[in-house]
């Protein structure tokens, strides 16, 4: 193990373990006002009139008429209103905010608000879409010709459901307007996203807005875009509050029901096979975007780029659409569009292999991309593809081949077993040229006269340990003890914009910038003097430029790789499925801190298992999400997967710090395909087409196969 990989005590360990860490809800409420959103009870309606109850002294309401800048939350397309416009587009769409002196009074007033609506027809099902927010198409080779020449053509449809991030800390924001400046702090992943959004909504110049991240209790993507929406709403209220802070902190139900979650998907795969090999894929992907676009464009981009999986498919045609329904807007969740398409491509490959009478893993091995091959977007896998070795590692840990063979034999008795395996990658960092063209990350190191060094970046520690790993890189390069380097929660008045904490980019991209900054500082180091160095993002030279309009070029500089096997035991009497074992090999390049990385892999793997099975969420006939509490939205606990084993495989990335590449999202992405494959085997080899797969689904399938 490299020295840098050795685990250290996390920088925020003491403050979190002692209870000293200050989350947004921990701020004193003395003199603060409480805000509560009044939301649409209809999936789609016209807002006719608003009747406020009698407001006690100092209490007030804000709606779109109070938005001093543009009534648009700047995310990607800026169609999400701060407060609903003339219509509401989903159940929960915020019409106004009531602000009062305490929680109870505010709740009472919010309940007493009467809004007149004219209900309008709503679209709730992804299949019934009328509005297409984004429609992308790309390909390579000649798919049409390949299909004409095929021995056999397969067509299958796959569905995946919502997934809720279920971070421990709910969304919360506090805003205060004083001396011509709006200060907002709260739970978030991306302070500069929030900063830009507030400036636009209020019509303020950037210097009149300050955003600070409070210690944040988990994000998983759920605090990438949503905090911008909540921050704009809260800031509009604070602008009217005469200098008093306004705090809005969601309870669990509000958070689960009305904040973004993973896009449900409907993917149709047409696959052409000739001489036992896949020669072409024609793929049609639909993502359910909900009522507004929020992050759907970029989620869809990542999803469709991953649509052909880890395979070298010479002829490819991919269409992806994000469509509007009158449901809660979907957004970022660990994996960002890729889990949906990896589920489909891995499962269709399994089904074809089965039909051809070939062991699925062997079939997949025959199609795997290797170093130097073209990617789906005609870029290049510039670096070694370590999948063959990783498959070996997982086989050794799980006994995949022997079990697969054994469980293929007819099974009798109450319990049936199955094992499945899946292969995947996660493109490291932003899709395409986002880093170069939009983010343009800047980092700084501030050396104090006493020799202490502050890391100045906008990265947020949301539990993934980024404060620790970035500090380790700087300390290592400066050759100073780790306790001489520190990193505070970002404050836009204090740190440069080194980009958002998303896309598994922070360690790889910002970490490398800091490494270079530290080398610079080391070269200029003068004892006893205060010094500042700065470093700017530069795209690596090897990159084949990416053109988003054609989806052509290197979508990612490099890839993190994964192989995972899941073994299940299915109870034929009750439909209950139990994870007997889960084994994964993960290549994130060099681990900058082994404990942190293994923790990330285990956590993400577990979320993937939940996404495959018990994490069920749906809208009812009116478009309302009913699974809005932890007793209705079930996430796995460690008791559910007692045997979860993570193997780290290191394929160094030369342009990442000490060989590190993207890590955070990887472990979740391909898990459902392994799970469903195991389920198929346990159910007499039936073909399955959706995830999550419930106990009831199991009973239904059992009725057919037993």
């Amino acid at each position: 193990m490299k020295e840098i990989s050795k685990s250290v005590r996390k920088k925020d360990h003491a403050s979190k373990m002692s209870g000293g860490a200050k989350y947004v809800a921990d701020w004193s409420a003395d003199g603060a006002l409480y805000g509560r959103l009044v939301r649409s009870p209809y999936a789609r309606a016209r807002v006719l009139d608003i009747h406020l109850p009698e407001m006690p002294e100092g209490c007030f309401a804000v709606d779109r008429r109070d938005v001093s800048g543009e009534n648009r939350v700047h995310i990607v397309m800026d169609d999400t209103p701060v407060y609903a416009g003339e219509t509401v587009e989903y159940i929960g769409d915020p019409v106004l905010m009531v602000v009062g002196h305490d929680e109870k009074e505010t709740a009472r007033l919010a309940k007493a608000v009467k809004v007149d609506y004219e209900e309008l027809p709503a679209i709730l099902n992804i299949r019934d879409y009328e509005t297409v927010f984004f429609d992308y198409n790309y390909g390579k080779g000649d798919a049409q010709k390949a299909f004409a020449e095929a021995d056999k053509v397969y067509e299958e449809e796959f569905q995946t459901g919502y997934q809720e991030q279920a971070y421990l800390e709910t969304q919360g924001m506090i805003a205060q307007y004083r001396d011509g400046k709006m200060t907002v702090h709260g739970s978030m992943q991306c302070p500069y996203y929030v900063h830009g959004a507030i400036a636009k909504a209020l019509g303020f110049t950037p210097d009149k807005v300050r955003v600070m991240q409070d210690t944040t209790g988990g994000g998983f993507g759920g605090k990438e875009a949503y905090p911008s929406i909540l921050a704009c709403q809260t800031a509009v209220a604070a602008y009217k509050a005469g200098g008093k802070p306004v705090r809005v902190i969601y309870d669990r139900r509000e958070d689960m029901e009305f904040t973004s979650k993973r896009h449900p998907s409907l993917c149709t795969y047409k696959v052409a096979v000739k001489d036992g090999k896949v020669i072409a894929m024609d793929i049609d992907i639909l993502f359910n975007s909900g009522g507004f676009t929020t992050l759907s464009a970029v989620v869809l981009q990542r999803g469709i780029i991953a649509a052909s999986g880890v395979y070298n498919i010479p002829n490819l045609n991919v269409r992806g659409r994000a469509v509007k329904t009158n449901t809660v807007p979907t957004g970022a969740y660990r994996g960002f569009g890729a889990p949906q398409t990896f589920f489909a491509v891995e499962t269709v490959m399994n089904h074809i292999a089965k039909d051809l009478g070939v062991e699925p893993l062997e079939f997949k091995k025959n199609h795997m991309a290797k170093q130097g091959d073209a990617t789906s977007t005609s870029g290049k896998y510039h670096f070694p593809v370590p999948l063959p070795d990783m498959i070996e590692e997982v086989e050794k840990a799980s006994g995949y081949y022997a079990k697969r063979e054994e469980y293929r034999k007819p099974q009798t008795g109450r319990y049936r077993r199955g094992i499945g395996i899946s292969l995947w990658f996660h493109g490291a960092g932003f899709t395409g040229s986002g880093e170069r063209d939009f983010i343009k990350a800047v980092v700084k190191l501030h050396k104090f006269a006493d020799g202490k060094v502050e890391v100045l970046v906008s990265q947020t520690d949301i539990g993934q340990g980024i404060k620790t790993t970035l500090s380790k890189i700087v300390a290592n390069e400066l050759n100073v003890p780790l306790d001489k380097v520190f990193c505070e929660n970002p404050d836009t008045d204090h740190v440069p914009d080194s980009g958002p904490t998303v896309a598994s980019r922070s360690l790889m991209t910002v970490g490398e910038l800091l490494r270079r900054a530290a080398i610079k500082l080391r070269g200029q180091w003068v004892d006893g003097e205060e010094q500042m160095v700065e470093e700017h993002f530069k795209e690596p030279d090897f990159i084949i430029p990416f053109y988003i309009e054609k989806f052509r070029g290197d979508a990612y500089p490099t890839y993190a790789w994964a192989v995972a096997a899941v073994e299940l035991k299915v109870d034929t009497l009750t439909g209950v499925h139990e994870v007997v074992g889960a084994w994964g090999s993960f290549d994130v390049g060099t681990s900058i801190d082994l404990n942190i990385v293994v923790g990330q892999m285990e956590g993400g793997f577990l979320q993937g298992l939940g996404y495959s099975s018990m994490e069920q969420m749906d809208t009812d006939a009116k478009g309302r999400i009913r699974n809005n509490s932890y007793s209705d939205y079930i996430i796995p606990t460690s008791v559910d997967v007692p045997n979860l084993q993570v193997i780290m495989h290191e394929e160094e990335y030369p342009d990442g710090p000490y060989g590190a590449k993207g890590a955070g999202e990887l472990p979740l992405v391909g898990v459902p395909a392994a799970y469903i494959s195991a389920m198929e085997q346990a159910l007499n080899g039936v073909n399955l087409y959706h995830a999550p797969f419930s106990t009831e689904d199991t009973m239904k399938a059992l009725r057919e196969v037993l």
Partner: protein, 276 residues
């Protein structure tokens, strides 16, 4: 001595407790695991954790007696609690909740999903209800009048569970939750069985989390009692058919169809295990 708190009273004997209960409208608070999440800030409570009479675990020749304020953990650690009860208690929630949650609270909540109540049903346990005018003993099946409706007077408390010792040894218990721990039952099953000299001397089954009240049908189980194993095998399909009619599930987090099918599967499995 009664300690007076801003949100209620802490009596130290059952007599003090019943006197308070008779005079005031107080919510009994044992472990608080259900009440805590309701967060009724204006609530007035009768705290039951300091009453020795409610904590006793004892036996006589025929019965086991469990104080209503015994926690799940206390019963799991007790040598007197039978295995079937422990099987159910060990699947309740997680250790922290088992350390505070009590059987009295589990019963008093009035839910058909209560895991300990299922065992009290299948074992034909009775509840001792203590009130200002005295005590009465009510079979648990009569105590539940409907969903959240109990045969309990305003001055009364559930003070003890009396469980007959006979028939406890051969049992089956199955719980289906949405996951392995921290899961409310989506369906639960308990069964007791005994045979002597080739004849069935006892058969009892109960289904939890299926309808408003736990299902326990002695009249149906009597179809098998007294029969030889071969006769019981002959009567098996009629027995299952009778339960098929008796089980009318309500739709909840899982569908009624799933509940019914699984109940019958578990019933058949129970009979198989018992050699029928």
């Amino acid at each position: 001595m009664v300690t007076i708190l801003a949100n209620g009273f802490v009596p130290e004997s059952l007599a003090e407790c019943l006197e308070l209960k008779a005079k005031r409208s107080l919510t009994p608070y044992a472990g608080g695991t259900d009440l805590m999440i309701e967060e009724d800030r204006g609530g007035q409570y009768l705290f039951l954790h300091k009453i020795p009479e409610l904590k006793r675990i004892r036996e006589d020749d025929d019965n086991l007696y469990f104080g209503a304020a015994c926690t799940f953990t206390e019963l799991l650690e007790s040598a007197l609690a039978p295995a079937i009860l422990k099987a159910a208690l060990s699947r309740i929630a997680a250790p922290a909740i088992r350390n505070t949650g009590t059987i009295g609270g589990n019963i008093g909540n009035g839910s058909a999903k209560a895991d300990s109540a299922l065992i009290f049903f299948v074992t034909d346990s009775a509840l001792k209800l203590s009130g200002s005018k005295g005590e009465r003993l009510v079979p648990i099946q009569d105590f539940y009048l409907g969903r959240k409706k109990l045969d309990l007077q305003p001055d009364e408390l559930i003070s003890e569970v009396r469980m007959p010792k006979k028939w406890l040894s051969k049992y089956d218990y199955q719980k289906i939750g949405a996951r392995k721990s921290l899961a409310i039952s989506r369906l639960s099953f308990a069964g007791l069985f005994a045979e002597e000299n080739g004849a069935i001397t006892h058969c009892a089954v109960a289904f939890g989390a299926v309808s408003d009240v736990i299902i326990r049908r002695k009249d149906l189980d009597s179809l098998l009692i007294g029969k030889t194993i071969p006769d019981a095998k002959a009567a098996k399909s009629a027995y299952i058919k009778a339960y098929e009619e008796a089980i009318v599930p309500i739709r909840g987090r899982v569908s009624a169809e799933y509940r019914k099918e699984t109940c019958l599967n578990l019933l058949k499995d129970f009979l198989n295990k018992m050699g029928i």
